[in-house]
Symmetry: C2
Subunit: 146 residues, 2 copies
DNA sequence: GTGCGTGCAAATCTTTTGCAGGACA
DNA sequence: TGTCCTGCAAAAGATTTGCACGCAC
C-alpha cells in the first residue's frame, strides 16, 4: 500500500468543497504532495516546485501544506531526524514503515497496532485515543540491492 | 514505570566517563531532566533552570540537551503538537503513553510492540531496525478526576 | 596551568505574518 | 467585482555559533 496511489483529484475536490479556489500553483503543489513516496518537508516541496515554476513563493508552500494538513489530507511525519516532513494521510491506525536506505514510505496493515492499543488499554488502565507508530529499517527492494 | 525513577547520578557518571567536567550547572540540568515526568522542551528546561539559577544561559541548556541526547540518556519526544520535547530514555522497544490532560508520560511494557515488530517484519518482508510508538489519551488518574 | 564549560550576543535557519497586486468565481 | 491566492519582504521564533572569561581537573 503505497502513497503514490493517492488520487490528486480527490484532494482538489476536497479543497474546492472547503471553499478554496483552485489555482495552477495549488494543482502543482497537490501533485507533488499527493504522489510522493518519500516524506517531504515544506522546504523540499518548495525546491521541487521551483524546478517546475521558478517564481513559486516559499510562503505559498507553507500555507498550502498547512491547509492540506488541516483538511487531514496530509500528515506530518516524525522522521528519523527532523519532524517537518509530510506524507499523504491514510486510514487510522496507521502503521508507517520508512526505509532508511531509499527513504520510501510503506503503509502497513494497521490491525496489529489496533490490537496492541486495546491490549495496552486493558493492562495499563489508560484511555487511549490516538497513536503514532513509525517503523524504520531496510525495505524489501533495498535488501535485494545490497 | 515512570520517568522519575531515573537515577540522576548514573547520568553524571556517564557524563564523566565521556570526558565531561561536571559543573554545578550540569548537575542542575541533569536533575531537572532526569526526574521529569512531563516531556520538556529546551526552552522549558531553560525557564526551570533560571528559577533555580537566574544567570543560566540559554545556549548552555541547548548544548546540555544535545549532549545528553547523543549519550542516549535523553530522548526526543514527538509530541501531540511540536517535536522539541525530551524525556529520559528507557530500554527499547519503548512504548510511551502521554496523557493529554496532565501531560505526564508513562512507559508501558514493550513486549507487545516487540511482537508487533516481528509480525510486521514477517508479513511485509522489510527489515525493521528501529521503532517509535507513542500513545495518547487520558491516564488513569485523570479519568478519576473527571 | 590547560582546556572545557559558560554566558552573552550575533548569526543562522525555519516558519509566520503583512501587504500590495493579480487571479478566480 | 469582490474576495481569495500569491510573491515578496519583514518579522518572529527556535537553535546554533563565536568569543572571552572562569572554573574543573
Amino acid at each position: 500500500m503505497l502513497a503514490h496511489t493517492i488520487d490528486a483529484n480527490k484532494w482538489l475536490t476536497a479543497l474546492r468543497e472547503n471553499g478554496c479556489r483552485i489555482t495552477d500553483v495549488q494543482e502543482m503543489l497537490v501533485h507533488i504532495l499527493a504522489h510522493t513516496e518519500i516524506p517531504l518537508s515544506a522546504e523540499q516541496v518548495w525546491e521541487t516546485a521551483r524546478q517546475i515554476r521558478p517564481e513559486t513563493g516559499r510562503a505559498t508552500v507553507y500555507r498550502m501544506v498547512e491547509k492540506l494538513e488541516s483538511l487531514n489530507l496530509l500528515r506530518r511525519i516524525h522522521g528519523y531526524q527532523g519532524c517537518c516532513s509530510f506524507l499523504p494521510t491514510l486510514p487510522e491506525p496507521m502503521m508507517l514503515f520508512i526505509c532508511l536506505v531509499c527513504g520510501r514510505a510503506d503503509y502497513l496493515d494497521g490491525q496489529p497496532l489496533h490490537d496492541l492499543i486495546h491490549q495496552s488499554e486493558r493492562s495499563s488502565g489508560h484511555h487511549i485515543t490516538d497513536s503514532r507508530l513509525q517503523l524504520f529499517g531496510t525495505c524489501v527492494a533495498c535488501q535485494q540491492h545490497s
